[in-house]
Symmetry: C2
DNA sequence: GAGAACTATATCGAATCGATATAGCGATGC
DNA sequence: GCATCGCTATATCGATTCGATATAGTTCTC
């Protein structure tokens, strides 16, 4: 889960742990409210398995200086220059490797994890998928949600008091809205596919 | 988290692990899609700290025989009688203790965990809370969601591609609907409080 | 009566969480 | 001046949770 998120962000350029966490929180909101206790071990993991490498003398300033933290950046660089690598704790900037990109695509298409967080994360990175995979992802998720609705207690369960019932109702509504959203996305995806590869009007013979 | 959920279910009567998991999945849906690898250690934990105790010769049939699993219940009892406690693996039914009820109320009012799952779980058990605590829970959650909306990237971020943007939009909509839902609950809660304790029409002097 | 499907408990390693430690820096304030 | 607060930044620890797997009895099906 985290590996996918981190590699996805590192696809856009080298970054360090602290900033990666901030971006996870702002870009993915409640879906990726992840702690440092997960981030740093995950980055070490990815480094030892060769998916990322640390940027040694690179200038991280060139990558994320959107005004404001500039002074901080400069200070960090100055401090590093002053103290060398000895004793001083400074940034560890990670860059994705070729192997890391392959691993990222593997994780992206690997459909074992089926919870809401994994799904949203994968969808957010859907631009890296082939169109069929995008459609498959959306439809798989849709099927899961429909299935879920049938398995869960409905709000007319006489056992529930008003609070439990309200939670059940609200959850069910949320799922229904998710399904409607997925339907819109699926439709848009189909339209895009048809537009880019308009098939013959006549029926095409299919091998399967 | 799990402790709260398990104790909450056991408040309604003794139950065994397998059934507790089923009820968590059906009653709390996606919010408590928990695995056995969490359930059984959690029950052991609760047993060693005295919150629950195993029911030895109790008749579990009296508690959950809503037609259908009756034969299973009977079979389990027969098997237990046949084999005694030796070798045979049968049900371990847990019952909440007085200490467990206290612990449950502590967990319920302890407001450290602030994620969506904890909140929904607490709200589902809100009948066990005093009215002020219910209101406080709802308002705390509302404030968190409002705060969240301000911190997260909005859909008009030019950096995002259509997929990431769609996820961000949909998430934000979900949060807004959650807030609206909370507003309805807060209103209802206030109305209930006023109705049960209608204050004097005239202004009452307040100590704080 | 063999095998599939369901009920039921348990355990293992890995991932994740939440808290805490450490440390440099800038700003605030008196 | 210098004390302290808050922010950036990395790291580690114990506890919790997850996901997979093992085990075993029961019930259904063919």
């Amino acid at each position: 889960m985290l590996d996918l998120a981190l590699l996805g962000l590192l696809e856009e350029g080298p970054e360090h742990g602290y900033e990666l966490r901030k971006r996870l929180r702002t870009q993915f909101g409640l879906l990726a409210n992840v702690s440092f206790g997960s981030i740093y071990p995950a980055l070490s993991r990815l480094e030892t398995n060769g998916s990322v490498e640390t940027v040694e003398g690179g200038s991280p300033v060139a990558l994320a200086p959107p005004t404001g933290s500039l002074s901080g950046e400069w200070a960090a660089m100055r401090a590093r220059r002053r103290a060398g690598t000895r004793g001083r704790r400074s940034r560890k900037v990670y860059r994705i490797t070729t192997a890391g990109r392959e691993f990222f695509l593997t994780l992206l298409s690997d459909s074992t994890a089926d919870d809401a967080r994994s799904f949203s994360l994968r969808l957010a990175f859907a631009r890296h998928m082939p169109p069929e995979a995008r459609l498959a992802l959306l439809e798989r998720r849709r099927a899961q949600l429909v299935q879920h609705l049938t398995e869960v207690v409905t709000a007319d369960d006489p056992e529930l008091d008003i609070y439990a019932r309200s939670v059940a109702e609200h959850t069910a509504e949320g799922v229904e809205q998710d399904i409607a959203w997925l339907d819109r996305l699926i439709k848009a995806e189909r339209a895009a596919t048809d537009a880019s590869a308009p098939p013959n009007r006549r029926k095409t013979r299919r091998s399967a």
